[in-house]
């Protein structure tokens, strides 16, 4: 028994090391590419200066751009991608539905309503920021969806209840958002909000990293801890119960965990679509459906994908930053179509 534990620990450590190395390379690459030319060597020098006081003489603006703008943005993009992808994988397993994504439970709809309430109506009297409003909105929507799912009649399909409740809740909050925007927004406010809603990393600084990174790491760990439980859901929740999984408790914990993680991420960067939906499917194709591999691989691919999408969003069109949600949709939609087609042939 001790053998097995030790072996597992060592293997996990080895995996963590190569994943960490890959992410570090991606981070440095992402920090070197941007709206203005700042080479790779400069990025390395900035890192050296900050990490072990190497003392390279650098233009303070260039160094500031790399350390205060690009690095936090890349880190948050990575954290966001990892969080959304793993949340998507978990929800797809729990709800037995390949179309499940992190926003299914009303999170992004609620976040947009919260953001709109704060910016347009000044709810919170200036003490609440856009992100704070978004977070509270996300939680409110999630609470409503949970209530709806609980009180839905018919015990035939628990998952069906949850999904329908999620759709109903999302529609409600989306309608609220539309109403608020048309009723009280100026064109400028509407434009600013729309940009945020489609996913926007341009305002991200180190404090956002301090929030996103720990939340995603914690969430990921909780999900990884339950990897075997997630596997047990393969043949349905009854089969999982028969395999010894406390289904209600696990479902509650994991749904709450992913909801919280998603709410935090959405409130920081807005609603970035397709990552939570498509990445888990792509990883399943490559690595199989077992969650021991699916979860960490999804997180890794999600992180890399979103970092790349962020870089693309600011370099694709000269002088203009595209909303990152547009990039993920542009890439995600055809990839999803490909997965569907390929899936059909595989059977």
């Amino acid at each position: 028994m001790h053998h097995a534990v030790a072996r597992l620990a060592l293997r996990s450590l080895a995996h963590a090391l190569w994943v960490g190395a890959l992410l570090s390379v991606a981070l440095i690459a992402a920090a070197s590419i941007g709206e203005t030319r700042l080479g790779l060597s400069m990025v390395l020098q900035v890192l050296a200066n900050h990490l072990w006081a190497a003392g390279y003489p650098l233009d303070p603006i260039d160094a500031g751009i790399i350390w205060n703008y690009r690095l936090p943005r890349a880190l948050v993009a990575g954290a966001c991608g990892a969080g959304l992808a793993s949340a998507g994988a978990v929800l797809q397993a729990l709800l037995r539905n390949p179309l499940a994504d992190p926003y299914l439970l009303g999170i992004s709809a609620g976040a947009s309503t919260g953001a709109v309430l704060v910016t347009l109506l000044g709810v919170g009297a200036g003490m609440l920021s856009l992100s704070g409003g978004a977070f509270l909105g996300a939680l409110a929507a999630f609470a409503l969806v949970t209530l709806l799912a609980r009180s839905a009649r018919g015990s035939s399909s628990n998952n069906g209840q949850i999904i329908l409740a999620g759709i109903a809740g999302s529609q409600l909050f989306n309608a609220l958002t539309s109403f608020l925007i048309t009723a009280s927004a100026s064109a400028e406010q509407a434009r600013g909000l729309m940009f945020w809603l489609l996913g926007n990393l341009s305002g991200v600084r180190w404090p956002a990293v301090g929030l996103a990174l720990p939340v995603v790491l914690a969430g990921l760990l909780v999900c990884l801890w339950h990897r075997r439980a997630l596997d047990a859901f393969t043949f349905g929740s009854d089969a999982a119960a028969a395999l010894g999984i406390p289904v209600r408790r696990v479902r509650l914990l994991l749904v709450a965990c992913t909801a919280l993680m998603t709410a935090v991420l959405v409130s920081i960067v807005g609603a970035i679509g397709f990552v939570g939906l498509v990445i888990p499917h792509a990883v399943r194709l490559l690595g199989g459906p077992r969650h021991t591999r699916l979860l960490p691989l999804s997180a890794l691919c999600g992180a890399l994908f979103l970092m790349a999408a962020d870089v693309l969003s600011r370099t694709l069109l000269k002088g203009q930053v595209l909303p990152i949600g547009v990039i993920t949709a542009l890439i995600g939609a055809p990839v999803f179509a490909l997965i569907l087609v390929r899936g059909r042939h595989a059977r």
């Binding site: 015990s155 047990a232 349905g236 089969a239 459906p289």
Partner: protein, 261 residues
């Protein structure tokens, strides 16, 4: 009072009642499954066989009565403990995941694994054993979806065996299978040294069990040896058919001949 009654039942229920939205599905069911026996559960459609199995497995909570596993009330046991002693094979298992046969059987080790007891060589050996017991060791790498119905059921049984349970519950495992598959599965189940509770549709297949429990409209109307339970009177009252036993000249076994009323 014979020796059987004094042994602790492997699995038992007392006064079990279950209803859904006011419709009673089971009423006053009291049953004891003896260690080592193969108990068949028979009855017409809607008699509550599946419901009873799910209640015994702890997948449903009864409104009245209780279930005991090895003498302990089910409600007081953790799901993990239950799964280590009791395994369930459903009528039909389906999944969208692209899992392999080995993956599916490995799921059976779930109740035995934990953070302190991760996957080890002994787990792999148990899985291998289970695969061989159902005769599917040569198909272990095949995707689940490429298997036939009978093979899929074997995989489910292998998965259940991998749990190393003391009791196996099977819910009409041969329902939609070819006759050859049906017979081989039943033979397999018969040969298992585990206490088995199997819900069956085909009455002739039920004859092979040690005892039969007959359910009619949610009530237990008969319990005993197959020949004692499936009397012509019972067959007429519960199933609405005429039936009598015939001896098979080939090997002398009893065989039930059924005619409509």
């Amino acid at each position: 009072m014979n020796a059987f009654d004094q042994q602790t039942a492997a699995l038992e229920c007392a006064g079990l009642a279950y209803q859904v939205k006011g419709t009673p599905l089971l009423a006053e069911v009291t049953l004891q499954v003896r260690p080592g026996e193969t108990l068949g559960l028979v009855g017409p459609n809607g008699s509550g066989k599946s419901t009873l199995l799910r209640l015994l497995a702890g997948l449903l909570r009864p409104q009245r009565g209780e279930v005991r596993l090895g003498g302990q009330p089910l409600a007081q046991l953790r799901r993990r403990e239950i799964a280590q002693r009791l395994a369930v094979v459903e009528q039909q298992a389906s999944t969208d995941d692209a899992i392999s046969v080995r993956d599916a059987v490995e799921l059976g080790r779930t109740p035995w694994l934990s953070a302190l007891k991760p996957w080890s060589a002994s787990d792999a050996a148990i899985v291998e054993q289970a695969l061989q017991a159902v005769g599917l060791a040569h198909l272990s790498q095949r995707p689940w979806h490429s298997l036939s119905g009978g093979e899929r059921q074997r995989v489910q049984i292998a998965r259940a065996l991998a749990q190393q349970p003391q009791i196996l519950l099977l819910d009409e495992p041969t329902n939609h299978l070819d006759i050859q598959q049906q017979l081989s599965i039943l033979a397999l189940v018969q040969a298992l040294p585990v206490t088995t509770l199997i819900a069956l549709h085909d009455l002739n297949q039920a004859l092979a069990c040690d005892r039969l429990a007959l359910l009619e409209r949610g009530r237990l109307v008969a319990l005993g040896k197959p020949l004692e339970v499936l009397t012509p009177q019972r067959l007429h009252d519960t199933f609405g058919v005429h039936g009598h036993f015939i001896d098979d000249p080939l090997d002398g076994s009893r065989y039930l001949r059924l005619r409509s009323c």
